[in-house]
Amino acid sequence: MMAFQIMNGLTFAALLFVVASGFTLIFGLLRIVNLAHGALYLFGGYVGYSVGNLTGSFILAGLGAMIFVALAGLVLDQGLLRFVRGFELRQVMLTLGVAFVLNDLALVIWGGDTFTVATPQWLQGAVQIGGLFYPKFRLFVLAVGIFVFIALWVLLNKTRLGALIRAGVDDAEMVEACGIDIRRVFLITFMLGSALAGLGGLLGGTFLALYPSADAEILVFSLAVVIIGGRGSLVGAAIGSLLIGLLNTFGQVWFPQLAYFVIFGPMAVLLAFRPLGLFGKAA
């Protein structure tokens, strides 16, 4: 039973990481706390659900969700955020407005019912690990989480784009002064981060569920992960996700009704000692 719960915690952490890594990447580089991230997650899930129903393909559903949400990120950045560039608080509050609009839009399009994205045939059922039967799909989510971590790590540490992003996190003005079009790097990062929210939405929509307040719930977890891990840190996001994922799972077993309170604990402790998070740097 314990091993089962640990696995549940790890898979939830993997989902959280997929969503929160996009969030922290955007926050770290663009200094934008994209509060519409939860709504983008929800849209990713819904679009994935619809595409999956239309085509019957889980892969297409995933691609559809990621592309759609990345485009939504493009529209958000180019269509709205450009008007408030340089004003941090106004940017954040604008994305909050967008979150409300998107949430209500989803309610208009898909209604208030709870949906679950159909698990594809090849991921149905369980596998035996040791003495434990564990659902294949959840293991798949865990694998996706690990894959995203490795892919982002390679992207950030081994490619030119990654070097630009990291340089941008440290000092965007200096990068621009070196003759690099930092706006393009920003836009790519924003779309990449959004696409990760979309992917998260599809995964979450399959092994959790999609319903109108799911966006606020995933947003709390993403905020907690970033508050714990620190702005823009990939490793911080991974550690934060593990901590929150495991705590939330065990919290739900031990105090089903106060599970939310359990994530409050580590956040409070951390804030008392490191207000900017484990790996956060002052802006």
Partner: protein, 316 residues
């Protein structure tokens, strides 16, 4: 401006405010009810403004603090059968203690981080209200008979709320114009300077946060009596956002602007809700539009536009 004309102006403004407050009494009960709501939310917006306008820290958790008070009042009065004054006292106390805890955690941060953190803290309260069904009733919420118990008509309740709101407004006005409030403004404008002058910045901010939560708690307790019902939607993010939006629309740092903001947003909500169910979308769109075009608030924007026109006239 001589002091004489300024006194006359003040008396006139006071009279105008009195007429405005008395006006709903001559209207149908529906409008009286809306006016009561406007006054209650103006207190919430002012409590947000105490932080946003006078310490420079924009909070997104005041809906949760406000709603906590509403929950506690309804729970203690309806489920535990406590007398209403005691229930309201406990509600305000709960909100104040919650604000103290939030304040202790949040005051070391500022700017976006402060916003983010208070948002997360507020959402945690929402999550607890939603899940802790034994106490909060979950999605069904708590329903009371506080108004019936008071045996007040809609008009009498309005007058009672107006009196309380007037007292609380005066208290807040005194608070932000006290030497303490001046220190807060000093912190807003130059935190490190105030710290090097020997002021204990975190302590000041914690007290400001707690006081702001106390005022939000009063608004929440009034709302419990007014609405007789509380559900997770009272503590949800849109409530905090509405409170902040009212403060922004009225003009951050003006305190009394909150009444204008509360009037505009609630009038808009009533108007929109009578035609469509898409209030949240309109709220979001309003937020986006205000952020892009008039972050200094409607009054501030109007003032700027007039100043702009005046300038262009004087220029050749």
């Amino acid at each position: 401006m001589t002091s004489k004309t300024s006194t006359t102006l003040r008396i006139l403004a006071g009279l105008a405010a009195l007429v405005l407050v008395a006006a709903p009494l001559a209207m149908p009960t529906y409008y009286v009810s809306v006016a009561t709501q406007i006054l209650i939310f103006a207190v919430l917006a002012m409590s947000v403004d105490v932080l946003a306008g006078f310490t420079g820290r924009t909070p997104l958790c005041h809906g949760a603090i406000f709603g906590t008070s509403t929950y506690v009042v309804l729970y203690t009065a309806t489920v535990m059968h406590m007398p209403l004054p005691l229930a309201m006292l406990l509600g305000v106390l709960a909100a104040t203690v919650l604000a103290l805890v939030f304040g202790l955690l949040a005051v070391r941060t500022s700017g976006v981080y402060f916003l983010l953190l208070t948002l997360a803290l507020g959402l945690i309260v929402w999550g607890i209200c939603l899940r802790w069904t034994e106490v909060t009733g979950g999605e069904n919420g708590l329903r009371g008979q506080l108004r019936a118990g008071l045996m007040l008509s809609t008009r009498e309740l309005y007058v009672a709320v107006a009196v309380v709101v007037a007292l609380v407004t005066f208290a807040m006005w005194r608070f932000v114009h006290s030497p303490f409030g001046l220190t807060l403004r000093g912190i807003r404008d130059g935190e490190s300077r105030m710290a090097s002058l020997g002021y204990n910045v975190p302590l000041h901010l914690t007290i400001a946060f707690t006081a702001s939560g106390f005022f939000a708690g009063i608004a929440g307790a009034l709302y419990a009596v007014f609405n007789d019902f509380v559900s997770p939607s009272t503590v949800q993010l849109s409530q905090s956002v509405a409170g902040l939006l009212m403060a922004i629309v009225g003009g951050v740092g003006t305190l009394f602007g909150a009444f204008v903001g509360s009037f505009i947003i609630i009038a808009l909500e009533q108007a929109v809700s009578s035609v469509t169910e898409r209030w949240l979308m309109v709220l979001g769109l309003t937020f986006i539009v205000i952020m892009i075009f008039a972050p200094e608030g409607v009054i501030g924007k109007a003032r700027l536009l007039m100043a702009g026109r005046g300038q262009s006239k004087t220029k050749p």
